[in-house]
């Protein structure tokens, strides 16, 4: 590897510009969430007023609760299905069309959300399903399970296959070998996948707005409809809370995957 040289002035400038472009708007949003003034763009001193306002706003609280429930449910189902798909694709016998299946698994990653949302809406309408919590949950599961599968599959791919063979050699039936050796080793990747699915579901607007029904708006939908009537400082407070939640989850997820890869190093041959 190239020796790390000191950053040139140009590098520093472009780095600062890039970071500013990404994080300055968020920073402003966070600061203005503590604004005492009723006007979004006028600074009126520090205050927690809009946070109190949010906790008194029944509709917002309900939407947040809905979003959390959908995120937990869809992330859990997606983790289950995604992990199974990853195991089947990287550990199962070679079957016809395996490459096609792997490819199809990645399709939702690149599919425009509008198309995913619209097609799911058509499906739910055709099935005459009542739109609400479960339809959003199912829609989010289809979106996020492929992310989980990708994360878990890459972990499985880097795992030494002879570990499972050693377990079988030492008296484990194949299923037992998977449970007592492979599963503990891919657990961090599964946790990371769950958290990824959770955050994806939490901040999705497009698919949720296609697949939800009246009376069961998720938080992003609620915020979006509020903003259309003009930005209230309360929105800033809500967004700050969401950012904080997502930041915590992402840090946990990256810690989990770091743990996963450091275990992988010790599993690798000398």
């Amino acid at each position: 590897m190239r020796k790390v040289s000191r950053l040139s002035r140009f590098n520093v400038a472009s780095l600062a510009l890039g970071l500013a472009f990404l994080y300055l708007p968020i920073l402003i949003l966070v600061i203005y969430s503590f604004n005492a003034s009723r006007l979004v763009t006028v600074w009126g001193g520090w205050s927690l007023r809009w946070y109190y306002e949010f906790f008194d706003d029944r509709a917002m609280i309900e939407a947040s609760w809905m979003s959390l429930r959908v995120a937990v449910a869809s992330a859990t189902i997606a983790t289950l299905i995604g992990t199974l798909a990853a195991v089947a694709l990287s550990r199962g016998e070679r079957f016809r069309g395996r490459t096609l299946f792997s490819g199809m698994l990645y399709a939702p990653l690149v599919m425009p959300e509008v198309i995913t949302g619209l097609s799911l809406l058509l499906l739910f309408v055709a099935l005459n399903a009542e739109r609400g919590f479960w339809t959003v949950t199912i829609a989010h599961t289809t979106l996020t399970m492929c992310f989980v599968a990708v994360v878990v599959q890459s972990r499985l791919g880097s795992l030494d296959r002879s570990l499972e063979e050693a377990a079988m050699d030492l008296g484990c039936a194949p299923a037992r070998a998977f449970l007592s050796v492979t599963l503990p080793l891919i657990a961090p990747a599964i946790v990371a996948g769950w958290m990824l699915a959770f955050t994806l579901s939490l901040d999705d607007l497009v698919i949720a707005s296609f697949t939800t029904g009246p009376g069961s708006a998720t938080l992003p939908i609620r915020i979006y409809s509020e903003v259309r009537l003009g930005v209230k400082p309360e929105i800033n407070a809500i967004c700050t809370l969401v950012i904080a939640l997502i930041a915590v989850v992402i840090v946990l997820a990256s810690l989990a995957s770091k743990l996963s890869s450091s275990r992988g190093e010790s599993a690798a041959p000398l």
Partner: protein, 379 residues
């Protein structure tokens, strides 16, 4: 006994393991091609061959990770084909050790015992016994990534031995160790095998390793067993030119003509003139063949053989000059450019500390060897 299934005891005189014309193909590539082999209980057997010769595939078929396309594998007279890996009284030590990274040394060793539903107290006793056997005392609580390469190797060995298998398979067990450690571990493995009276099958590509440790060696080449025999047999009586070259160094001279003279053959070669060799046990037929002589069987002197060795024994005398010298400490290998055109390697033991006996480059020497030291090999 820890085993629930597949407990097999061979009748007296019968081999522990019998491999009957086993074959395995991957696609159109025949990895193992009709191998038959008997292994007796208590043997230390080595499967030796270059990479891709099928030795690891054969080992994996014994462990149960691959199933043979043809042939049978009998353990103690019973066909083990239907038994899955976890049902066989066979354990394997993997090339990269395959230690469970999330388990401590103790739990790695106890892993197989727990699966065998052994009582808690018995497991503790057996683990302690194994830890003592491979000298890992004090490291029981460490995780594999906190161990050195040699220590990991010991854990893998202890884990494979813990279930007291009837047959222990070792897949290149020493390949990851450095030379010094490898040599001491070779000795320890042999000592262990003798003490436990267990049957070991080791797979290796290192002929020195196989010769050092094994009581019998099977040399494999492109899926077939080329020769099976004791180390000495392989080295001194190789069955083909390929084996002679694979096991140790050897000088080879293509034969151009031959004449019978009693129990001797007088063979004309292009590179080394006329050589007299002992007649091989099997008649040669009409095939092309070469005369082979190991470098350490070639003697060098400044003026030719002296004393009683001067006449009868040293019929083969070749004049030449030293072309280059390779000093290896214990021995020195000289490459002699023969006057007849060929090259001859001679390996000389450095029995004196001072170099009064050493030769120098471009020095004229006489190389000589007896007819009995030569082997005739079909090429």
């Amino acid at each position: 006994m820890a085993r629930s299934a597949g407990d097999a005891h061979p009748a007296a005189g019968e081999p522990l393991l019998r491999i009957e014309s086993v074959a395995k193909a991957f696609g159109t590539f025949r990895a193992v091609d009709g191998v038959s082999l008997d292994i007796k209980a208590g043997e230390f057997f080595a499967l030796l061959g270059p990479s891709g010769c099928g030795k690891t595939t054969l080992l994996r078929m014994l462990a149960g990770f691959e199933s043979p396309d043809e042939g049978r594998i009998l353990l103690g007279g019973k066909d083990i084909a239907p038994a899955l890996p976890h049902e066989r009284p066979i354990n394997m030590m993997f090339q990269n050790y395959a230690l469970f990274p999330h388990l401590s040394v103790r739990d790695n060793i106890a892993f197989g015992l727990r699966r065998a539903n052994m009582a808690r107290a018995d497991i503790a006793t057996r683990v302690a016994e194994m830890v003592a056997l491979v000298k890992l005392e004090g490291l029981e609580k460490r995780k594999p990534d906190q161990l050195s390469g040699g220590q990991r190797q010991r854990v893998a060995l202890a884990r494979a031995l813990a279930r007291r298998p009837q047959l222990l398979l070792l897949d290149e067990p020493l390949a990851a160790l450095d030379k010094k450690l490898r040599e001491s571990t070779q000795g320890e493995l042999m000592e262990l095998q003798r003490r436990l009276g267990m049957t070991f099958i080791i797979v290796t590509h290192d002929q020195e390793e196989a010769m050092t440790m094994a009581s019998r060696i099977g040399v494999m080449k492109s899926g077939k067993l080329a020769q099976v025999g004791a180390p000495r047999e392989l080295y001194e009586a190789p069955r083909s030119r390929w084996i002679a070259e694979f096991v140790g160094d050897i000088n080879l001279f293509d034969a151009e003509s031959r004449l019978r003279d009693g129990h001797r053959l007088v063979i004309g070669t292009r590179d080394a003139g006329t050589l007299v060799v002992a007649e091989p046990r099997q008649p040669l037929g009409e095939v092309k063949f070469s005369v082979a002589i190991r470098p350490e069987k070639v003697k060098l002197s400044r003026r030719g053989p002296v004393g009683e060795a001067g006449h009868e024994a040293a019929i083969n005398r070749l004049d030449g000059v030293i072309a280059d010298i390779c000093y290896l400490g214990g021995t020195t290998t000289y490459r002699v450019k023969l006057d007849t055109g060929g090259m001859l390697q001679a390996s000389v033991i450095n029995s004196a500390r001072l170099d009064v006996d050493a030769y120098s480059v471009d020095q004229h020497v006489v190389a000589w060897f007896t007819p009995d030291d030569c082997v005739v090999l079909p090429s």
